[in-house]
């Protein structure tokens, strides 16, 4: 194995430009964080809504939410990226499609964010549904018996407990969002993986490139994990096994 190491490569200028390779990677890091965080916000909002809809006493709503989850869970993320990027503009009215294809600002970013957000929403929905269904059935009945409406019961009785119970599984989903955002390279978002491929081809220092990018992904996943750990501690339900263990 005769590989020519060059750790100074990051401070060198890219071929045919006045940026350094470090600039490329930091730009990529920025896009990765931007796509992941916006997709996560979207996934949380939609996922909670869909998770609730899967548990309400209405066959039509349950069926619709189930169809949504199955649709987004059973198609590979990369194929979904292509569907949103190449197919969706063709299905819009002609002048809208043309606008999306030619004029929409940051269209790769928005497409990737929407795609990743919807994909993740189906996974969040499953966790939220599981959380609601894990509650004792008496809670719903007690809420209704107190004269609360169904939405009020969800808002004030069921969700406050269910959402706090599903923080641990949501932690791994949050970390997955950062990992999954790497698929956005395929539609031309200039995120970390895109920059890694570009830098490797341009500098021919593949190992240094991939080590640096892998490290940046680690930082993302680790930060996501720490943020969720803080949330988990702050929202722990008093009196549960996890709370008692933490107190002692």
């Amino acid at each position: 194995m005769n590989y020519h190491w060059n750790w100074g490569i990051f401070l060198e200028q890219v071929k045919g430009g006045d940026e350094t390779y470090l600039n490329w990677l930091l730009t990529g890091f920025g896009w990765t964080v931007a796509v992941s965080l916006s997709a996560w916000v979207m996934a949380l909002a939609l996922g909670i809504l869909l998770g609730v809809l899967r548990t309400v006493p209405s066959r039509a709503l349950v069926a619709a939410a189930t169809a949504w989850v199955e649709l987004f869970r059973n198609i590979p993320l990369l194929v979904q990226m292509f569907l949103w990027f190449f197919v969706m503009p063709e299905l819009l009215p002609a002048d809208w499609g043309l606008w999306v294809k030619q004029e929409m600002p940051a269209k790769e970013f928005f497409t990737a964010t929407i795609c990743l957000g919807l994909f993740t929403s189906s996974r969040v929905a499953e966790q939220v549904r599981a959380g609601i269904q894990a509650l004792p059935g008496g809670q719903l009945m007690a809420g209704l018996a107190m004269g609360l409406t169904l939405p009020q019961t969800y808002r004030h009785v069921l969700l406050p407990t269910a959402l706090r119970m599903v923080v641990p599984p949501l932690t791994s989903e949050f970390m997955n969002v950062f990992k999954n955002s790497s698929v956005a390279f395929a539609i031309g978002v200039m995120e970390l993986t895109f920059q890694a491929k570009q830098m490797q081809e341009d500098s021919e220092q593949g190992i240094e490139t991939f080590l640096a990018v892998t490290l940046l992904y680690f930082i993302c996943a680790f930060s996501a994990n720490r943020v969720m750990a803080v949330i988990e501690r702050r929202t722990r339900i008093p009196g549960t096994a996890a709370d008692v263990a933490a107190q002692s």
Partner: protein, 221 residues
């Protein structure tokens, strides 16, 4: 191209798409079997009383699980030729990568499976005079597999979907075949829709099977 979909090209391109699907299926099968075999060994290592072995296995699993698969695919595609001295080809590289990557995920499932076998069973095996190997092979692992079968299959569905990521190194799987056919017939949109449909039908049917299995095994312990 609005309102002007032409799905007739699909019929002409079916043989070509089939070659792509064959690679997708081969990759899924190899990575599943290899991944479960290697993953089981990793799980045994993680649960072993030999501390360095357990630590090494848990490092391997945690590192694999915290890097995006696309990066792992690119890593192997780049690094294997540096070590072996000659390029390996996208397809072979994908087979190696997916087996090693999926092993980390199957390992965690098998570890949970082994831990789900009751202590009495383990003790009974040893009391019968079984060695560690015999006890694992004849008593613990069969039950662990059975308990974890739905989860192993669910992971395989995830694996099947993830194989589409070999796109990053240009291996010719179903998605790549659809893309090439789309270019050749100048019908890229129809081809992406068709590929999505194939993935959906296969994953949905498999997840339906998993659901049935779960119901069958649910209370039989």
């Amino acid at each position: 191209m609005h309102g002007d979909f032409d799905f007739s090209v699909l019929v002409d391109s079916l043989p070509f798409l089939w070659t792509g699907l064959q690679f997708t299926l081969k990759l899924t099968a190899v990575a599943m079997l290899g991944g479960i075999a290697l993953g089981t060994l990793l799980a045994l290592a993680r649960l072993s009383p030999i501390a360095p072995l357990a630590r090494a296995a848990s490092w391997y699993v945690n590192i694999m699980r915290s890097i995006p698969l696309v990066m792992v695919i690119l890593w192997f595609f780049l690094v294997i030729p540096l070590i072996t001295g000659k390029p390996m080809g996208a397809e072979n590289s994908a087979l190696v990568t997916f087996t090693l990557f999926e092993a980390a995920f199957y390992c965690e499932i098998m570890r949970a499976g082994i831990q789900s076998v009751s202590r009495g069973q383990v003790a009974a095996g040893y009391a019968m005079g079984f060695t560690y190997g015999q006890n694992m092979r004849l008593v613990i692992l069969p039950q662990a597999f059975r308990n974890m079968l739905p989860v192993l299959l669910t992971q395989t569905i995830v694996l099947f979907q993830d194989t589409s990521l070999v796109y990053a190194i240009g291996a010719k799987d179903l998605l790549k075949a659809a893309e090439v056919a789309g270019k050749n017939y100048n019908r890229p949109v129809e081809m992406v829709i068709f590929a999505a449909l194939i993935y959906f039908v296969m994953c949905y049917s498999l997840s339906f099977v998993v659901k049935r299995l779960q119901q069958r095994f649910a209370f039989k312990r």
